[in-house]
Symmetry: C2
Subunit: 300 residues, 2 copies
């Protein structure tokens, strides 16, 4: 009692390392993220940090560049440092890591990768979202619809967005034109290059569905430089709802969702998991909605 008071007065700071060692608990959450240079992921971090802070946890951020070897590396780092749990925002997710996670049975939540089985996850319904966006384009009278899709089939969200696109087209009785489906990196420049490829086809589509807003912004940018008008010549649809989407001209129509909310539910449930609570459901899907703005034209 008295000794405690003395501690207060000398503004003594306990050694967290020693405490963690003794308690066998680190109050540390490992967070793996491909990149911070991405508005969506920024929001995700905010969400995660917010609730982990709330529960007295610290977060440790690792940038994986979406590469498996880095993920493996940091996974072990997190284990070494005795992280209580891990949030893994990974699109490129080989089974390798999955089994790794399972056999160490460290609490873990997957983010952004839907339809995953073994490990709890939180994500949006990419297939449905893409389906709705492309269906909207069809409703606006478009039938020649291309897609700037993510490059690697291993990228789950990218693949699902393509699936939704394909599904919407086939359902409308439209056959997919392979020339109009371009694989594309994630940067604005990648979007520009991909759009160029589309413009080089003999028959140019009237609308393009883009896998991300950054790609869409790149596409718009390229079209502008080429002297083509969006949406008069070509309509563009984005995905993610980043803030720049409402700033560029024309304002970008896009699929919007709250990455902050993804982050929050991920952190919230990871902490439950850590506490040993059983969480149900094991997969959360965060709502999305279409934000239709100016970049799509009604084709009569």
């Amino acid at each position: 009692m008295r000794v405690l008071k003395a501690m207060e007065q000398t503004n003594f700071l306990p050694n967290a390392m020693a405490r963690n060692l003794a308690k066998n608990k680190s109050y540390l959450l490992g967070v793996m993220i491909p990149d911070v240079k991405n508005t969506v992921l920024d929001d995700l971090i905010h969400g995660i940090n917010h609730v982990s802070e709330l529960y007295g946890y610290n977060t440790m951020l690792s940038l994986t560049s979406g590469m498996l070897e880095n993920e493996l590396h940091y996974f072990n780092k997190f284990r070494e440092i005795q992280a209580d749990g891990i949030i893994l925002a990974s699109d490129y997710l080989k089974e390798n890591l999955i089994t790794n996670i399972k056999q160490t049975n460290i609490p873990c939540i997957l983010v952004g990768r839907d339809r995953s089985d073994a490990i709890p996850s939180v994500h949006i319904d990419n297939i449905t979202a893409a389906y709705e966006a492309v269906t909207y384009l069809i409703q606006q009278g478009h039938r020649k619809i291309g897609m700037l899709r993510l490059r690697n089939e291993d990228i789950a969200s990218g693949y699902h967005r393509y699936q939704g696109y394909a599904q919407a087209l086939t359902e409308a009785g439209i056959t997919i034109n392979g020339d109009w489906v371009i694989e594309c990196g994630v940067s604005v420049e990648d979007g520009m290059m991909a759009m160029r490829k589309i413009c080089e086809t003999t028959d140019i589509p009237t609308a393009i569905f883009c896998a991300t807003d950054r790609i869409a912004i790149g596409a718009i940018n390229y079209l502008y430089e080429r002297g083509l008008s969006v949406p008069d010549d070509i309509s563009i649809y984005g995905f993610d709802g980043i803030d720049m989407a409402s700033i560029i001209r024309p304002k970008l129509s896009t699929v919007k969702y709250s990455a902050t909310e993804i982050g929050m539910t991920a952190a919230r449930n990871l902490i439950k998991l850590i506490k040993g609570e059983t969480i149900t459901p094991r997969h959360w899907v965060i709502p999305h909605y279409l934000k239709n703005r100016e970049s799509v034209r009604l084709l009569k």
Copy 2:
């Protein structure tokens, strides 16, 4: 020897907590940053992470929202967790924290705040950069030049950018029109609102120097909505050189510098400091340059 081999085989992971406790070294770098929703800071994080990774350090990121109480809070958190050193990206920096840092004498590097005395720092020369940008505007024939400046005088970089602006004007024999200097938050929306205030003045300036690119983008956005043309009606100059600056139309003229490099030198020197090396100089200024694009018009 044999026991080591056995460890390898059972893929044993050492407990970093125990190791750190025993060695009295955490290989942890605490990083305090106002916000991640800012391209500049993203680059900064990349730079820091890159070199800390190189030297075998882990980084722990804390978001302070630029608030002193949070900085104090995380500062103690970092001490508790035995961080080997701290990188503090703080604009709003009361002496309070400074003395705190000094008396605990934990290795620490300041980022983004120039002209600081006590603690080693890395930053750009905001005053000169702003001076050069505004001087460029003057050279282009502008004399009615406003500024969208950061709100709080405690925000060092914001204040210095204003100083550079003021200096350029006075040197050119132009008196500052208070109606054209608007205090402004950091978001795109803030930029829009501030620009509106400028437009409501009876005499509208021909050029606006903006404290950040995001503000500049907001300004351009507002002018577009109001039916005014950039640069025909009003010229806009930004600051930071974020990637969106070259994407929006018109392409934004701006002061560019490498935040990545800031982060890298900060981390590099923090680690030196931790190792007990004496670092000299104690303040590094990272170069900047003007990136003149389309948003400024030549006034004859």
